[in-house]
Symmetry: C2
Subunit: 191 residues, 2 copies
DNA sequence: CTTATTCTATACCTATAAGTACAGAATAAA
DNA sequence: TTTATTCTGTACTTATAGGTATAGAATAAG
């Protein structure tokens, strides 16, 4: 019974993600998002709220995407080590070569001291917790594939640390072969 | 033959480091630095140049501090593994517990998309290169302590990745015991 | 003591960016 | 077609923050 919205909010979130991912939260102005999306500020505010709320939506959406993909990859049959190796290698395009500059939106945000906002911290914590939970349950389920004394909980966290490290060092765009060698070496812990 | 400077530049850099470290480059205003240091803006500009130049000085100073400490720790006699373990555990106060929120100034800066400035990237790259070089040369020197086929170059990079990961995840303030467990597990690669 | 010179502090300028008022456009119901 | 309602776009307000002009303070040389 009134004028309908002229844009798909998800399209705008996708565009906003690209801009935020490239420049970071602080350095991204709403004018850049309006320019990239073609949507004027009042429409953005009506649809998403202020800049923090928009970023939170973008980040949640990003998290959901990675979690969904991780669920699929880690549910694969076969050795747990190969599933986890595949999960880690899936990030190579984002932590080496041309796209490497960007790294991980979540980790970039986590290390941004200016984003000390309760809602954002919570989103990032929840994401990390769920990701680690996926790794841990897979390692626990396949416990008998590993040596005696293998600790799936510590190993899950170690894999999280390695993942975070690769993404944090992504901004130097290391060689993908070097990344692969590190992953191979770490995977030797899963034995 | 004129009025001398009323402050020690190094003191100001130390204070600026604290503020930048806590809030990040973008979110730190020069007014906050003047408030924390008691030095007015014109004096800061005369001594250090603009905000980017000041931050670069702060970051270089931070890098030098860590590199100097790393040189000392990694020059220790005894097993290379123990020297490297000690180096990693030295970061625990900054990646767990109360101070964990801060993480590493260099990594926080590296993941900040808004700091895509040539000079800053160069400083960070040089720092990472020198740090990895310290690890690599120690591992190479003690090569005969390790199994056949041990690769000191890949291992040095793996240690760098783990270090970066611990610091990137610092903002969730994990338990120091969990950090210790990860370090122990990774150290098992140095055998 | 005078003076040249450099530093310091107040106050200001300017640009940018977050957020909004308001008028006009578009649509569904009557 | 009319009308109520919601969306869109221009233009504005306001605050903040980087950077600086300028006047006055402090010091070493003469």
């Amino acid at each position: 019974m009134a004028r309908p919205r002229s844009f798909d909010p998800d399209d705008v979130l996708e565009i906003a993600r690209q801009v935020f991912w490239q420049k970071g939260f602080q350095a991204t102005s709403l004018d850049e998002i309006t320019a990239a999306s073609g949507i004027a500020k009042p429409s953005l505010y009506a649809a998403f709220g202020d800049k923090h709320a928009l970023f939170l939506r973008v980040l949640d959406r990003y998290h959901d995407g990675i979690l969904g993909w991780a669920e699929r990859v880690l549910a694969q049959p076969g050795p747990a080590r190969e599933a986890i190796r595949q999960w880690l290698t899936g990030f190579i395009p984002y932590c080496s070569g041309e796209k490497g500059q960007r790294g991980c939106l979540s980790i970039n945000s986590a290390t941004d001291g200016s984003l000390d906002q309760a809602a954002l911290r919570k989103s990032i914590e929840r994401y990390n917790r769920r990701l680690e939970e996926l790794l841990r349950s897979r390692l626990r389920a396949d416990r008998d594939q590993f040596r005696k004394g293998f600790d799936p909980d510590v190993t899950a966290h170690t894999v999280m640390v390695v993942h975070a490290g690769l993404m944090a060092l992504a901004h130097q765009t290391p060689d993908s072969k070097q990344v692969m060698a590190v992953i191979d070496q770490v995977m030797s812990l899963l034995a």
